[in-house]
């Protein structure tokens, strides 16, 4: 017992000496995971108050307090699942900047729903990038599902229109729409997306079921600007975080949820078609410290 007290004292003293160092290290760890400085300051402010108020000094406990805060920000797991509408076809619109992984993600989502026995159709509304349609066609062939594609540089709105009409005729459950990558700073291309959204709303007589922004997890603070501007023109329903098999954490999504209230819905982790998962806030918070 005495030994235990001695040990605890030792830890406590060491901890007190290292308190500043300890908080600095935690701060750096979170920043290294691309969480924004403001979010880090906010979370640490709450946790510091809690730990001082309740005399919590154990570093591991403090870390779990931080994780709790992160999970509280990231939201409830139950709201994350993508659901199909009771009136088919359900429509998912997939958007994002160039190179974020939209086309691969579209194929992964299609694969996921096809596996659960749904009839899925792909819409190749990226009529701009060279060979984008062919890339999606490759996945459609591989999954043996339907695809609607038009000629290069044709109107993406027309592709979307046709894909929904075709889905209605063929009794398709889910339409996943791949769009061209665009920088959020290009207002013309953002307007084009709003137009696509209008076309869909008009065809299904309700709001698009899911509008998902694909974010590369190696992206830094710019992801917030992406979320903000895409959300401004489209009213996003969530984020798909890709390339988590890299060593980056994608911590910026914590800031995005905190500041803009846009949740992460799915993550992609690997190159195979099955490598897509629903987002788990607890696992994500854990990973920030690994």
């Amino acid at each position: 017992m005495q030994k235990l007290i001695k040990n605890l004292n030792y830890i406590w003293n060491k901890f007190r000496d290292n308190r500043k160092l300890f908080w600095d290290e935690i701060e750096e760890q979170l920043i290294a995971g691309d969480v924004s400085v403001n979010t880090v300051t906010e979370i640490l402010g709450i946790v510091k108050k809690k730990s001082y108020g309740n005399n919590i000094n154990n570093p591991e406990k403090i870390k779990s307090l931080i994780k709790e805060e992160a999970v509280a920000i990231l939201g409830d797991k139950r709201d994350i699942v993508l659901r199909l509408s009771s009136v088919p076809p359900t429509v998912f619109l997939i958007v994002g900047v160039n190179g974020s992984g939209k086309t691969t993600t579209v194929a992964k989502i299609a694969n996921l729903f096809k596996d659960s026995g749904k009839k899925v159709l792909l819409a190749a509304a990226d009529t701009y990038r060279a060979a984008a349609t062919e890339q999606l066609q490759h996945y459609a062939d591989k999954l043996s599902i339907d695809i609607v594609c038009h000629q290069k540089f044709s109107d993406p709105g027309a592709v979307v229109y046709d894909s929904i009409e075709k889905s209605k005729a063929k009794g398709i459950d889910l339409v996943v729409i791949d769009t061209a990558g665009r920088m959020q700073t290009s207002s013309n291309l953002m307007d084009e997306l709003s137009k696509i959204k209008k076309v869909i709303n008009g065809r299904i007589n309700r709001e698009v079921d899911e509008i998902l922004l694909v974010v590369d997890s190696t992206t830094g603070q710019n992801a917030k600007s992406q979320a903000q501007i895409f959300n401004g023109s489209l009213d996003l329903s969530g984020i798909i975080l890709t390339k988590l098999d890299s060593t980056s954490k994608g911590g910026i999504v914590l800031t995005i949820k905190n500041d803009l209230d846009i949740p992460v819905r799915m993550i992609c982790h690997g190159e195979k078609l099955k490598d897509i998962y629903y987002f788990d806030p607890v696992k994500f918070a854990d990973s920030l410290f690994n």
């Binding site: 750096e28 920043i31 290294a32 995971g33 691309d34 924004s36 400085v37 900047v97 160039n98 190179g99 974020s100 992984g101 990038r129 060279a130 060979a131 984008a132 062919e134 890339q135 066609q137 490759h138 996945y139 920088m183 959020q184 700073t185 290009s186 207002s187 013309n188 590369d216 190696t218 992206t219 830094g220 603070q221 710019n222 992801a223 600007s225 390339k243 098999d245 890299s246 060593t247 980056s248 910026i252």
Partner: protein, 442 residues
């Protein structure tokens, strides 16, 4: 690019600009804000730490505190350190004297390799009049080869690829073929890979060993966060690349990754890629970017671009008019046309120097699409109205509106915008006189 960094530094410097003597507390406060700005700009936290230590050492070491020009001194120190990080010499490319120069492009998935390969091929072809050929060694991503072939067609460059062949032998065969073909430059596009994927890193190391390329470029997305350091470090360790191509600079990224990578690898950024157009590819200039970060604007790049599109005589005339505040709609429309030749308006504005107080007035910012409408309005004015916009009254507006099909509100907006722009340009021309905008005068 770098707008936010520029904004932040503008604010920091504005605070200390008018202070004269600085206390150690002032420097601390300034450094703290610089730290936040750099972190928010995605500069790696270790680099930030080192950067600030260097600046701090110099800021307190030199006789900054007693000096009456303390502000200029800090700007100078930060500027020097920034150039230190970004590399002290300019980018560009060195061709081998004999035989084809073999270039290999590597990078993460989605970093922009394929687009950069095409842009670089076009750059070398048009700037150095060399025969460029491309090897498509990305055998993994569906339709990657097709994408390359499709884009290469537009710039008349030959692409070599084979199905069902491993990338190492494919690259070798391609190089042999293009050597016989008397290509001056051979660019190899490789598949995207994560620096932690052992198999894929082994593959690219094998290609390197077999082909022995003269130059290897790492293609890096400028929106990359803290991870940039690990990516650069990982690739550097395995294949010891020679330089970097920084892509997607047309986003509003703060571009801090650019600062981190040189610090860690000592490999320089050689080219930047900044738009959907194939010509949006240029040589990287560290000192220009550094001054842009400091709120001094990227006047050199702007000047170079403008030079291509505007004749010198024309430019002089306009400059005189700006000084005298006599700019009229005739100049405006000819400016609009040359602006269209230079590139997008946002890009131009991002190169101009604006510090914390001299923000670009919102009304002065025009988006690219409205340029056509503006031209239509101006074309519907009489010569006299174009020369003396002040005479445009209600009935004249009605007539113009009928002529161009735009509403009177739009014409009013243009007149207001024009006025603001005139003011802004005047302000801009006066700013040239400020000593701190010109590093040579510090």
């Amino acid at each position: 690019m770098f707008e936010s960094l520029t904004d932040k530094f503008g604010d920091v410097f504005y605070k200390i600009k008018n202070r004269g003597k600085l206390s150690p507390g002032d420097i601390e406060a300034a450094l703290r804000e610089i730290k936040l700005a750099l972190l928010e700009a995605d500069v790696n936290f270790k680099v930030v730490r080192e950067f600030l230590d260097n600046v701090k050492g110099k800021a307190t070491g030199e006789k900054v505190l007693e000096s009456l020009t303390a502000y200029q001194q800090i700007v100078k120190i930060v500027n020097e350190e920034m150039i230190n990080i970004l590399g002290s010499s300019s980018g560009g490319i060195n061709f081998v004297p004999k035989g084809p120069t073999i270039i290999m492009m590597v990078g993460l998935q989605g970093s922009g390799k394929t687009t950069s390969v095409i842009k670089m091929a076009n750059f070398i072809k048009s700037k150095f009049q060399k025969k460029v050929s491309i090897i498509a060694a990305d055998v993994y991503r569906p339709a990657a080869v097709l994408q390359l072939e499709d884009m290469a067609k537009n710039i008349n460059v030959e692409v070599f690829s084979r199905k069902d062949m491993d990338p190492v032998s494919l690259a070798e065969e391609g190089v042999e073929l293009f050597k016989k073909d008397f290509s001056d430059v051979i660019i190899i596009d490789t598949a995207g890979r994560l620096q932690v994927n052992e198999d894929m890193m082994n593959e690219v190391a094998r290609i390197k060993k077999r082909i022995n390329p003269h130059i290897i470029y790492l293609v890096l997305d400028s929106m990359t966060g803290q991870e940039a350091v690990n990516i650069a470090y990982g690739f550097n360790k395995r294949i010891d690349f020679d330089g970097m191509v920084l892509t997607k600079l047309d986003s509003d990224t703060r571009g801090g990754a650019a600062l981190s990578v040189y610090y860690v690898t000592k490999k320089q950024i050689k080219f930047v890629s900044s738009g959907e157009k194939i010509e949006d590819f240029e040589i990287f200039h560290p000192e220009r970017i550094a001054s842009r970060i400091l709120g001094m604007g990227d006047i050199l790049t702007l000047a170079e671009k403008a030079e291509k599109a505007v004749s010198e005589k024309e430019a002089k005339e306009i400059e005189q008019k700006i000084y005298k505040n006599e700019l009229n709609f005739e100049d405006f429309v000819s400016q609009l046309r040359s602006i269209k030749k230079i590139g997008s308006l946002d890009k131009l504005l991002s190169m101009m120097p604006f510090d914390g107080k001299n923000k670009i007035p919102k009304e002065a910012v025009l988006d690219g699409r409205s340029l056509d409408r503006i031209e239509a309005i101006i074309n519907s004015m009489t010569v006299e109205e174009r020369r003396k916009p002040d005479i445009i009254n209600g009935s004249r507006k009605k007539r113009i509106s009928k002529g161009c099909g735009c509403s009177i509100a739009e014409i009013n907006r243009l007149l207001k915008q024009f006025d603001k722009t005139r003011q802004m340009l005047k302000q801009f021309s006066q700013m040239k006189g400020k000593s701190w905008l010109n590093p040579d005068k510090l």
